[in-house]
């Protein structure tokens, strides 16, 4: 047992509120000859919601698994709560709350039993565990389902129960791998609401997502990963401004419009039958296209993280 080292992670709350919760330096992970994570460095500060974005196979989940101490890094250093993931997995995991991408609730138990059995893995006394479980079920709007087996839950309820389970040990860091994957809009919004509430309580949250809207709504800071590398890091709105512009002009991509854009000399991209143009004065550009290029339609819209994402990672399908 490593009980003697148990306190290293929690002592000095004052200090730990200033030093990073996660610190990765030149982190590398190979699977055989495949490099899944390629020399990445990042820091996550206390109280922040930090996002990992990227297409399939970018290395997001692998990074999460290393942080969770279930997949040993091939190279570089990775510390969580100031402890090395290789040497102190039990001490780190004690303070982690994990929402995995794949639903792995225990189908042999009911909702509340899932929480109680999980609490036991953290050595939480039975009475305390029941109090926490009931509170968490209420928080996740699942009280009525307490005695329902897992099979009887909808997809959204299962995800909320997994989030409740991840909170049973009062974690100091929540790691969410695609928390709203496969949910309908109502269920997704409810999940966002809960995550927002947790953020409001000062929780440190690490999340991966494909949904850029989710990242824009929730993350204070994020990185975009592709092919194992971190391409950019920053606050969502800054990244949009930097890589996509506040506003984007979108129009039908007829040869006439493209010829027009060539004349203006502005940067543009053709996607299918649409063309996107970037300019410091998007409204002026839109008016010019409308007046002189005879487009079917043209409009100006807000730049989004999706624009940043696609311009950085390209439009090739990743499978």
């Amino acid at each position: 047992m490593q009980g003697s080292e148990e306190t290293t992670g929690v002592e000095g709350e004052d200090k730990s509120t200033r030093s990073p919760i996660i610190r990765a330096r030149d982190l590398v992970k190979n699977y055989g000859n495949v490099r899944a994570v390629d020399t990445i460095s990042f820091e996550v500060m206390p109280g922040e919601v930090f996002g990992f974005l990227g297409p399939n196979g970018a290395g997001k989940t692998t990074t999460m698994r290393m942080i969770q101490c279930v997949s040993p890094p091939t190279g570089g250093t990775l510390s969580v709560f100031g402890l090395d993931v290789r040497d102190h997995p039990a001490d780190i995991k004690k303070w982690l709350g994990i929402v995995p991408q794949e639903t792995n609730l225990d189908p042999d138990f009911t909702c509340i039993e899932n929480l109680l059995v999980y609490a036991r893995y953290f050595d939480i006394p039975a009475k305390e565990a029941r109090q926490r479980a009931e509170k968490l079920l209420a928080f996740m709007q699942l009280e009525e389902k307490a005695d329902v087996p897992i099979d009887g839950l909808s997809g959204g309820m299962k995800r909320r129960l997994i989030l409740a389970r991840a909170l049973i040990n009062n974690p100091r860091l929540l790691v969410l791998d695609e928390p709203t994957i496969g949910l309908d809009p109502q269920a997704r919004h409810l999940m966002w609401e809960k995550l927002k509430a947790l953020q409001g309580m000062g929780n440190t949250i690490l999340l991966t997502t494909h949904y850029l809207e989710e990242a824009e709504r929730l993350c204070n800071r994020l990185v975009i990963m592709d092919r194992g590398k971190i391409l950019v890091e920053g606050e969502p709105m800054d990244l949009v401004r930097r890589y996509a512009g506040d506003e984007i002009v979108e129009s039908e991509g007829s040869p006439q419009v493209i010829a027009c854009l060539e004349e203006t000399g502005c940067r543009y991209e053709v996607h299918g039958d649409m063309v996107q143009a970037f300019s410091d004065q998007p409204r002026v550009l839109a008016k010019r296209i409308l007046d002189t290029c005879n487009p079917g339609r043209v409009f100006v819209r807000r730049g989004t993280l999706e624009d940043v994402f696609l311009s950085l990672t390209g439009r090739d399908l990743r499978e």
């Binding site: 699977y31 969770q68 995991k93 982690l96 994990i98 225990d106 138990f109």
Partner: protein, 260 residues
């Protein structure tokens, strides 16, 4: 050292408790078979076939096979738990993934599974022992030692099973050990006829290699209250040492499979 040699901690019992809780939730389906199965075998083989067989070395046939039924129940209860059931938890239910996201290590998880497999062996063979005592085909009080012994025997078969689970690509490939290893052992371990009627080399092979042959030897010594000390101690030592080795080997193999 922990990095290179699998060392489970007391947290393994948390995994054991999880499995125990599930077992008792569904106790109706879990408890009936161990009571009914021995009755069927006793009636069909012990009394039915026994009519034609008579005695084996002065022992009534029904008393000869009673310890074999116990040994087989130890084997089946633990082997099938740590193959098919463990595979389902590992691969389909992702139970292990959920567990290792807590302070539990993969070593703790697998050790807990092995201990639970051993416990199932104890539960099933104890239930069966009750039936055999009721039929008066086992000697008392020596037969009571079958209860603690069944835990050790169960741990042995759990370890064997977990090694297969660790290397089995799919749940279907677990049929190979089930049919090519367990079934022959079921028949050729001195269970329904003494090993001595087999050709010499097969006798040697069985006593050197087959785990069930060792378990039958020990169990039969206890239920007949007839001890051949050398053979008894040989089998007991064989079980204890192979069990210890496989406990760690199976955890190592599982770690190799799951920690990537």
């Amino acid at each position: 050292m922990r990095r290179y040699f699998p060392v489970p901690t007391r947290l393994a019992w948390k995994v054991w408790r999880r499995n125990r809780d599930v077992f008792f939730k569904t106790y109706r389906v879990n408890f009936l078979p161990p009571f009914i199965e021995p009755v069927l075998y006793l009636l069909a083989l012990g009394y039915g076939l026994g009519m034609f067989v008579g005695d084996i070395g002065g022992v009534p046939y029904v008393s000869f096979i009673a310890p074999a039924l116990l040994a087989i129940s130890m084997m089946n209860a633990s082997f099938f738990e740590c193959t098919y059931s463990s595979f389902v938890r590992m691969y389909y239910q992702k139970t292990y993934d959920a567990m290792v996201a807590t302070p539990l290590s993969i070593e703790d998880v697998i050790a807990g599974e092995l201990l639970w497999g051993a416990t199932r062996s104890l539960i099933y063979s104890s239930a069966m022992l009750v039936v055999l005592v009721a039929f008066g085909v086992v000697a008392l009080p020596s037969s009571l030692l079958v209860i603690p012994f069944s835990f050790l025997a169960g741990l042995l078969f759990s370890g064997i099973a977990m090694c297969f689970t660790a290397v089995s690509p799919t749940i279907d490939t677990l049929n190979y050990p089930a049919f090519l290893f367990i079934t022959p052992m079921f028949l050729f371990s001195g269970t329904f006829f003494p090993l001595s009627v087999l050709p010499g080399p097969i006798q040697v092979f069985a006593m050197a290699v087959l785990p069930l042959a060792q378990v039958v030897t020990v169990t039969r010594s206890l239920t007949l209250a007839e001890l051949s000390p050398v053979l008894f101690l040989y089998s007991l030592a064989w079980i204890a040492s192979v069990c210890t080795v496989l406990f760690f080997v199976s955890i190592h193999l599982m770690k190799r499979r799951l920690v990537i």
